[in-house]
């Protein structure tokens, strides 16, 4: 009956998660041309940081016990720390490598994080109940929406606005934009490369933590593999949005969220298991029409 507003909220909240994950990837790609496959593993790491290390099926809360006002900043800084540490130990030593070598090493890093989690927590998915009251439905414009969906949408908007302010109004933001535009030139003009790169990783890690919080609350499960799927979608969103373009990444994240909700809603029943196949076919079609992405910045074209 109220299918349309329902679909709208589903699409917006799913798109919001994708958009935040895509932002995390786009930020790092912008400053150092690194496609960071470890991003999904940052998300999984943050999820597991909530619970006590053990191999039991039922999770015991660890940091997760803290009240929200403490928990959220704590988890965001854990995410930031993991990302900054990975830059310090791995990517700092690869500044002169090809993008392919960096991409593969980011994958290797993700592999290491994932298997460390497996070693400590075992591969069984665990039930986690974090803020279960947020999944209670409330009714808005005739549709009953879990409160969490509204929080996701609002959070995404706040994050995007805050990020935009940071990038436009602060010194570090200016330096990041300069670095994303032309890294060598920016360094020659006095941009502090290490500060910018560390800053980008910290922001990206904090975004991963935010995604982790939302996913845990929504699904109530902690699974070592939960980062992989969202990383893939986010990665595709950054490319469709135009690599290096932050507004593009956000827009494309929302677009993919909307497309998958619409496909889920309107595909005939027997075709529904194949939803992702349709979604990725759409992705290839978009790329064929717009190879540089929908919102490609002018600097993305190599000069000849």
């Amino acid at each position: 009956m109220n299918a349309i507003p329902q679909l709208f909220f589903d699409a917006m909240s799913l798109g919001g998660i994708y958009a935040m994950a895509a932002l995390g990837i786009a930020l790092i790609f912008g400053v150092m041309n690194l496609v960071n496959f470890a991003h999904g593993e940052y998300i999984a790491f943050c999820v597991f940081a909530l619970i006590v290390p053990s191999t039991d099926a039922v999770a015991v809360m660890f940091i997760g016990k803290a009240p929200a006002i403490l928990l959220i900043p704590m988890l965001l800084s854990i995410g930031a720390l993991v990302a900054v540490a990975s830059e310090f130990f791995v990517f700092r030593h690869m500044r002169n490598s090809t993008p392919v070598a960096m991409m593969i090493s980011s994958f290797a890093l993700g592999f290491v994080i994932q298997n460390t989690l497996l070693l400590v927590y075992s591969s069984r998915p665990k039930a986690v109940s974090l803020w279960p009251e947020l999944n209670k439905p409330v009714s808005i414009v005739g549709a009953s929406i879990p409160l969490l969906q509204i929080i996701v949408i609002v959070t995404t908007l706040i994050v995007v606005v805050a990020l935009a302010l940071l990038l436009k109004r602060t010194r570090i933001g200016l330096e990041m934009r300069a670095a994303a535009e032309n890294f060598t030139m920016a360094r020659l003009l006095g941009v502090r490369a290490n500060v910018v790169i560390t800053g980008a990783f910290a922001l990206s890690g904090a975004l991963a933590a935010a995604v982790a919080l939302i996913m845990v609350t929504q699904t109530g499960v902690a699974d070592v593999r939960m980062g992989g799927q969202i990383m893939l979608v986010a990665f595709i969103a950054t490319v469709i949005g135009g690599l290096g373009s932050l507004p593009g990444a956000v827009a494309a994240g929302f677009l993919i969220g909307a497309a998958s909700v619409i496909l889920q809603g309107f595909l005939p029943l027997e075709a529904r298991p194949f939803r992702d196949a349709f979604l990725y076919t759409l992705v290839i079609a978009v790329l064929l029409l717009k190879p540089d992405g929908l919102f490609a910045p002018r600097s993305s074209k190599p000069r000849v």
């Binding site: 690869m94 002169n96 994958f107 290797a108 592999f111 990665f235 194949f274 076919t281 290839i284 064929l288």
Partner: protein, 342 residues
């Protein structure tokens, strides 16, 4: 001048011969001194050689990273299963197969060739669209292609068995069969790399604009390389199925994509020698670590790595190689005999 050119062409042909010799020595050593499980590991390694060298034909020569080759592997593996499984089995587990496939009971060799051909045809069609893109957009499109094939194969209940495994494949792919296919793939890769299309494609890898200005049609040569490369990855898929005896769509997704790309990059993406080196080195390290996890006896005490440590160590080794030797272990050079004077 003409003399040196001729010598260079000749010495380029020593590369595949040396590499095949290494593979033969490897197989003999393992068979003579190893136990049964080591022989199985050798077959797996040679299948990976077939796959990674097949992957190299496209990635190494064109410089475009493809995430989609595991999809060609899946296509080959399932095609061989459709052609060789006993009809009663197929009636039971894969009821929706077309009558022609449901009644097929082929010999394994033609089935492997046809599986490769099917993968090549799919590559021709998918590549015709995907290869219009360049750079990172092309890589993403191959990723999307992989996800499409994975979704179809893991949801098409009556034809692929979806996520429940297809069982009962004849396990004929021992170390000798896989050695033959791996050698054939190395030879074909060298043939392609030394052909005019291979040279043209490598020119586009070095400098797209200059190659374009010299009248090279990049799209065409990339498509040729992709089709050749998909044939061998399809065959590798067929061999994979007939070595384990079990097929599951999850074996052909992100895991295999990344481990094979890692082998290629660790060995050195720029050369055929690099592709073979990467597979052999990483496979041997993985096997050693797996054995260490089971426990190694030093006199009285048994030393064992905790389960799962193997993957972590492999990951760290990969990162170290990439930091210390960004162009891979071989650094893009080929193993070759030096003929005549330099």
């Amino acid at each position: 001048m003409a003399q040196t050119h001729k010598q260079k062409r000749l010495s380029a042909w020593s590369t595949p011969i040396l590499l095949i010799a290494i593979l033969i020595v490897f197989t003999f050593l393992v068979t003579l001194f190893g136990d049964k499980s080591l022989a199985r590991m050798a077959a797996q390694t040679l299948i990976r050689v077939t796959f990674v060298v097949g992957l190299w034909i496209f990635v190494g020569n064109s410089g475009v990273v493809s995430f989609g080759h595991a999809a060609y592997m899946a296509i080959g593996a399932y095609c061989s299963a459709w052609l060789t499984l006993r009809p009663q089995m197929k009636g039971l587990f894969l009821p929706d197969l077309w009558p022609f496939l449901a009644n097929a009971e082929w010999h394994v060799f033609p089935a492997a060739v046809v599986s490769g051909l099917l993968a090549a045809i799919v590559a021709l069609i998918s590549g015709a669209a995907i290869l219009r893109l360049t750079g990172i957009a092309a890589s993403i499109a191959t990723f999307a292609f992989l996800a499409i094939v994975y979704t179809i194969y893991s949801s098409w209940e009556g034809v692929t068995g979806a996520t429940s495994s297809v069982v009962g494949l004849t396990r004929y792919a021992d170390q000798w069969v896989t050695l033959a296919w791996a050698s054939a793939t190395v030879l074909a890769a060298a043939c392609y790399a030394n052909s005019s299309s291979g040279l043209a494609l490598r020119a586009t890898r070095e400098d797209e604009v200059a190659a374009d200005a010299s009248g090279i049609n990049m799209y065409r040569h990339r498509l040729i390389a992709l089709v050749v490369s998909a044939f061998f990855t399809g065959v590798a898929g067929a061999l994979f199925g007939h070595s384990l005896g079990v097929l599951n769509p999850n074996s052909f997704y992100l895991g295999v994509t990344f481990i094979t790309l890692a082998m290629l990059v660790v060995g050195g993406i720029g050369s055929l020698t690099g592709a073979v080196t990467g597979v052999l080195v990483l496979s041997i390290i993985i096997e050693a670590l797996v054995r260490a996890e089971r426990g190694v006896a030093f006199g009285e005490t048994t030393f064992a790595l905790p389960t799962g440590a193997q993957e972590i160590i492999i990951g760290i080794i990969m990162i170290l190689v990439l930091i210390l030797r960004p162009a891979g272990l071989t650094g893009g050079r080929e193993l070759r005999l030096r003929l005549g004077k330099r």
